[in-house]
């Protein structure tokens, strides 16, 4: 480490410079976007009544934080999303185990899964509301539905892609089917499962938004839909910004999870 050649040092410095430049450009874009928005709103080019503006959004943020209503809305949306996300992933993975186990069932259900996968699950939201009622459970079930089929299919694909020879190895040790699942197929599919989690974060938010648009009395989706109806665009824009931040944070969290758990699997390649 101590004997770094001149060429290597210059290379590392160039690499570092390039990294900083990219970071800088990213920040500039963000700031320019908000500055332009604010300036055009101030100059009257954009009507703040329908476009809102960063300063109005900020004021709104302060107000709603002060009376605590913002945190209630965020909390509700976050809870619904997490509940949908966790139950969708769990149910999808569990179903994948059943279909891996039973080859005939897998073949029988194949065309139905293809159709269900292509069907926009949010189209089912009104039916769910009729069945379950005008409440939070409907929203969570809608979020669950958006992620469950994708999870099932991607985890099942992961199960089926486990090297045949790894299973053969377990069988040379006399492994039973539950043992093959527990010792080989499931751990080998951890990357596939985490990948499904990554997709599900986004999908669960979609489900929750549609659900909240339709039934909710609280939550960020409710704020968006209600705000647009009463022309409180500050609420709408603030909610959208917060949603963007929440989705990014959740994605980051899953990415950190991925890094932690799939380190061993990655090293193999």
């Amino acid at each position: 480490m101590e004997n770094i050649s001149k060429g290597q040092r210059e290379y590392m410095e160039a690499l570092e410079r390039n990294k900083r430049r990219i970071r800088l450009a990213q920040i500039v874009i963000l700031l320019a976007f908000f500055a332009l928005w604010e300036l055009t709103a101030q100059a009257g080019i954009l009507d703040p009544f329908i476009f809102s503006s960063p300063s109005r959004i900020f004021t709104c943020l302060i107000q709603m934080s002060a009376d605590g209503s913002l945190f209630r809305h965020i909390g509700i949306t976050l809870f619904e999303t997490c509940a949908g996300f966790v139950s969708g992933t769990a149910l999808g993975t569990f179903s994948a185990v059943i279909l891996w186990w039973n080859g005939s069932l897998r073949k029988i259900l194949d065309p139905y899964l293809v159709v269900l996968n292509s069907l926009p699950k949010t189209a089912l939201a009104p039916i769910i509301i009729v069945w379950i009622g005008n409440n939070m459970s409907s929203i969570i079930v809608t979020a669950l539905l958006t992620s469950v089929i994708v999870t099932l299919l991607s985890v099942l694909a992961g199960f089926m892609a486990v090297e045949e020879d790894k299973i053969l190895l377990a069988r040379t040790f006399g492994a039973t089917k539950p043992q093959i699942l527990r010792y080989v197929v499931f751990p080998a599919s951890v990357p596939a499962i985490i990948n499904a989690l990554k997709i599900n974060v986004g999908l669960s938010f979609v489900g929750v938004m549609v659900g909240e648009f339709l039934v909710a009395g609280a939550g960020l989706g409710y704020l968006i839909v209600y705000g647009s109806q009463v022309f409180k665009l500050d609420w709408v824009m603030l909610s959208v910004l917060i949603l963007a931040v929440l989705a990014a944070l959740m994605y980051k969290w899953v990415a950190a999870l991925e890094k932690k758990f799939t380190k061993r699997w990655k090293e193999k390649e």
């Binding site: 090297e163 020879d165 377990a170 040379t172 006399g174 061993r264 193999k268």
Partner: protein, 247 residues
Amino acid sequence: MPNILEVQNLSLSYYSPQGETKALENISFSVKKGEFLSIVGPSGSGKSTLLSVLAGILTPTEGCVAVAEGAKTGYMLQKDHLFEWRTIEKNILLGLELTGNLTAGTREYALNLMGQYGLSGFRNRYPSQLSGGMRQRAALIRTLALRPEILLLDEPFSALDYQTRLHVSDDIVSIIKSQRKTAILVTHDISEAVALSHRVIVLSKRPARIKAQFGIQFSLPPNNSIEAREAPEFKDYFNKIWKELDF
């Protein structure tokens, strides 16, 4: 020496929508305790199938395999298939865990083997941190941990590059011999078969029949398989076997 394994009139057919494929036809041979037997044949000749039958993973259509009482078989595959999510120690204990034989005693036996063959320092490492040769050693110890009498080796060196392969095959075989195990090696590499074994069986194209057998004896017994490759008789055996192999 008594026979530890006897194969009698073994035949096996595969069935598929395309029709029936005869993989093995009327194969009989026996293996003595402590013997190192190689089976060579053209690729796709059913060598691996034969080994799977010996291991009891496949059931023959006809014929039978008799193993001496109390003798267990252990299998080694082409690749080491160490599980990348388990440490080397946990990988080595896998067979014991799966067969429900993991006790303090068997665990210590496995850890001793690890120490004996220079893997102690890698106990808590992961497979990706080991060289190809070390991985293959770990795979062998995983098999030996179950104390098999007969080792079935399915081209265990074919995934390695040539140089590594010479060293690893010598290494693995000397471990097997030091443990006084019986071994049946399936390979398509004639030199490997001649250098490592006491006897070589040549299989025909599919359906596999036994075409020829050669006892390998060197006038000056070599110290290891690398030396064996330089013995004067080596190329004679090589040529004889090569002529028997049809491609």
